[in-house]
Symmetry: D2
Subunit: 341 residues, 4 copies
């Protein structure tokens, strides 16, 4: 067994804590550095796992560091990917790459010119249920894929309005996960996008000009269709389901209940609600995602999802906004030509 990979983590927030634990639990990785403008949380997180709190220059300048994990604010992602690659590090970057499609396109060029791997962390691909659905669909277990349904609803009050204000809008911030999921499951690139959306959840969201309830329909050249149902409030907890309908069967994942408790009384049968939000619901996906990245570092797997995946998903978000504005089906290639050139 070789020495474990040494990781420098940028960002000591909620998702940084999730990754730190997985890095420490994995026999082939250790957390070496934590970098965060908020020194208190960075020090606390570093201490728990025997790491050091340092500044960016120290982390990037240490030749013993194999990879950086970017879990800092979205606006810093693209810069850190580029700096990391320049410093010769592999990069694990939280989604999205950036909120600007042109900036993502530019970053993608840098990534493609580098020989270091970059993983864009659409973690849901690593959920055990989702991964099983995709594996079987790709293996032909349901024949020709015809319809993909993605239900994705944040729990009510899951995200504060301050976050939403700088989120880039629902399609770029939240639906981007679902665009990635559709691409992951369809096995074919969508060519057109139709969007229907409303502001129903809160006057606060309407006041910042954002939508909170939507249906986005994607169609591929072959005719296969993907349908995304979105809401910013699922009152019983995180609603995260996918379904692949094919010529010979259907694959799906259901919500993960908090526990398997059942209460039967005279008038009803009661069960537990779904796990409330992403740190619970996707705990296993984060660990599996990290294990994949370690295999990328070992050279046995290619980073998947890649920066190109991040780019394609953001492009679908842009097309959805075009459809919403025009009241017509948006052609993805046309949107790309107009926005990126």
């Amino acid at each position: 067994m070789t020495a474990p990979f040494r990781i420098a983590m940028f960002g000591a927030g909620r998702i940084g804590n999730v990754h730190a634990r997985n890095i420490n639990d994995h026999p082939q990785s250790v957390l070496a550095y934590v970098v965060d403008p908020m020194e208190g949380p960075a020090q606390e997180l570093a201490a728990r796992y025997g790491a050091s709190q340092v500044d960016e220059a120290t982390a990037l300048g240490d030749a013993s560091i194999d990879a950086i994990l970017v879990a800092s604010a979205t606006s810093t992602h693209a810069d850190l990917i580029v700096k990391g690659l320049q410093a010769g590090k592999a990069v694990f970057c939280e989604k999205p790459v950036d909120l600007s499609i042109t900036r993502v396109a530019a970053t993608l060029k840098v990534v493609e010119a580098s020989d270091k791997p970059v993983l864009i962390a659409f973690n849901r691909r690593f959920d055990p249920g989702v991964a099983e659905v995709q594996r079987r669909a790709a293996d032909g277990a349901v024949g020709m894929i015809e319809i993909v349904n993605v239900t994705s609803k944040d729990p009510e009050g899951g995200l504060p309005i301050e976050y939403l204000k700088v989120s880039g809008g629902m399609f770029r911030d939240m639906t981007i996960h679902d665009f990635d999921m559709c691409r992951f499951l369809l096995g074919e690139e969508p060519t057109t996008v139709s969007a229907t959306a409303s502001s129903l959840v809160s006057p606060e969201i309407a006041a910042i000009g954002d939508i909170d309830t939507a249906c986005v329909t994607l169609q591929c050249a072959s005719g296969r269709i993907a349908i995304i149902t979105n809401s910013r409030r699922a009152s019983s907890g995180y609603d995260q389901r996918v379904e692949v309908h094919g010529a010979t069967g259907t694959l799906r994942t259901e919500n993960v209940p908090k526990n398997m408790f059942v209460h039967e009384s005279g008038s009803m049968v009661e069960r537990s609600t779904p796990k409330f939000f992403f740190t619970d619901r996707y705990a296993e996906s984060y660990a599996a995602e990290w294990a994949h990245f370690v295999r990328v570092l070992e050279g046995t797997e290619q980073p998947n999802p890649s920066t190109a995946d991040g780019y394609r998903s953001l492009l679908l978000a842009e097309a959805a906004y075009v459809s919403l504005k025009t009241g017509s089906v948006a052609n993805v290639a046309d949107v790309e030509r107009e926005l990126v050139g």
Copy 2:
């Protein structure tokens, strides 16, 4: 207890047999006559329940007949509704009223001018699970209704190509049930319609110019959204689910399994597939629908769904075709003005 209502049934096919049994099982109704151009099946059905096989004139001319049940070919529905009303009978008519929106509009005028009740048999409203969802949603159990999802997929090979040729097209024949379901559950009339559709299931269906895979999105003035997912082939049996997402909760119905058998082996857990098609899946809904019609005859309930419901649902089908053709959102009021005036 008063004497049971005497019923004359038109049509001795598969659905006629379902209704005949329910008429006989209900303590307040008896099957008196069966009318069908195919005399053999009509005689056989009549014999099973102590009824007589007669011609149309006899059935409509017998003053002791309280109501007619129209389960004959679609092209005969509108005529029989009118003739039944003229003969002073209440009418229970299978969906659709007709495939022509102008003819349905004309029939609706006759119905509205009559003092006899007419029920248009969108049976799914009477499914115990669907009815519970609608009752709770209407009672405010999930707060403001925001999203309705209807999944509706016929089992593979459920319908022969000869039937499909004269069906009027998927939106008018199959999706019409789902348009009715959306209207039933939304609690608000949809104002716009967007459709995405493909021909994936069979070259035979493509050859007759029909679609077989679709997503239709409806939006109401308040912003609430309904999403229909359709396919002509569900390989594991009839796929019939509805879901109402509201501000404070979610209501839904799942597919009804054939039985509650479970087989756990080393590698998997196996359960039964859903009931295969409508006579099994909706057996209870047909009985409940008939019980409702008996209460209509008793004067304690109004027919629901009504002919107006049949008209509104067909109008949504027409709007869906307009959206499909234009690649844009179709405004229902505009479509009505253009097609009906």
Copy 3:
């Protein structure tokens, strides 16, 4: 197609009504006569299906009658089996044959000496879920059978105290279904019985000296074990589950919900309760049981369960009472020797 079998039914109560409908629905059988000391219900039931209400002598004396269905009071079963056979009729008899083991033994001798078939209607064997479990278990789908668990609980208030007073006691009246189920699923005759029981449900039941809560454990010569859990009150409806644990897997049936409705709110997920009692829960089993009996009349199947099955199950009930009294494991062969000789 030959002429349908003509059936004379004894007993026009709740279960008689269930059977009458199934007889009429089956293409190869017709209900000819209904016999019941209560003439009103007998006439009503006969009228619904075009049959005649007659007395016992008429029914048994009519040579055109192929079979009798015995759904009258338990005390009349053994006599009617014997009279039916003497009149040359096939017999479909509700469980139990009788409450006296010696009388059942005597009836069994008559049945075995006759060339007409007798079916003892332990209907649960025909439940689609149970039948699938048994078929797979018998086919070796879970390897060597090791443990059978039967959960059987009547809904609260399902049976009036007047019925319980003449029921013969819980083991002979209610658990007898479960003894039959264990024998059906074990694939081997139990040799010993241990019983634990209490009176917890109602002082009324305790006052008549009966038990209402019990666990009975059966063991076979090979070592395989069956475990019955019984209660006279399941507050959320009929609790009817079986489970077969084998060397390579597990087969089971779960309760059948009233419908597939789901309500997710902020604090819980609610589903429907199980079907309340036997006419709902076992509706399909009664129809399948009748279809089996028609095949028996056609000569293509042997009656199963047989009168011998009725005898063996009552013998296990007797052994359970012996175990309860002695506080020790009861040997079934010893109990048989002592009670039957």
Copy 4:
């Protein structure tokens, strides 16, 4: 916030690793020492969490250590409890206290004479589903408790024959968890025990004189009944279910699936099997158990389960062996008098 509690852990095996992670994850505890005769695994485990590998004397002699966690071989448990208490440490001890009822009785006396808390780690009480069942049952959510069913089956090949040889026999090693579960859920002490058991799973187990398939029935003075179903091989994974039947309802927990994947094909619906064994199935229970122990150290909760719980459960195991040997119901008080005095 006070300084975290410092913990010395005895035993660096599978379960020790589980506890070490939970100690490190908890903000109020740190792993200080690991003690194990196998120095390699001890050093590795210590290194992962910034602890030191030391010998027993060092760990017990360090005044800064607040508590010891005993996860070493069963034969060392009783000694370490006593030594820990003598050194002034609180004790978290894996089940069982010991395989000898007299030694457990002696240890219990020492514990009761000490002012330091001792927790006996029957972890299943802390499973989220089980805990919810117990909380509601104790709160009267199902009225008077009448029947408790515990299904407990180890996965096939879960435990090697070498382990089983020194395990003390199935009732003392495996069923002891279920005896604890029955006592936890019944809310009343069982007074009698009946056991039925077989050797079906493997000739190896039969050869060491042990059983592997069993049903144990417990009855309380009030008449309430508990039923344990046990097997050493559940081919589809760990089978761990509990059910409390009360006068007004039923509470239960179902097995925890590996994931929420569903595959519907033409002939069946497939789902994931249950989590395979205790480190997966009970991962959450171990974390909750540790959180409870931290609250015990903080003085806000009493250790529960206690050493007395460990004693009572082993006594039920002894009574089960007596019943098995005599073929009669065993009286727990009589067994205690005979074995312990």
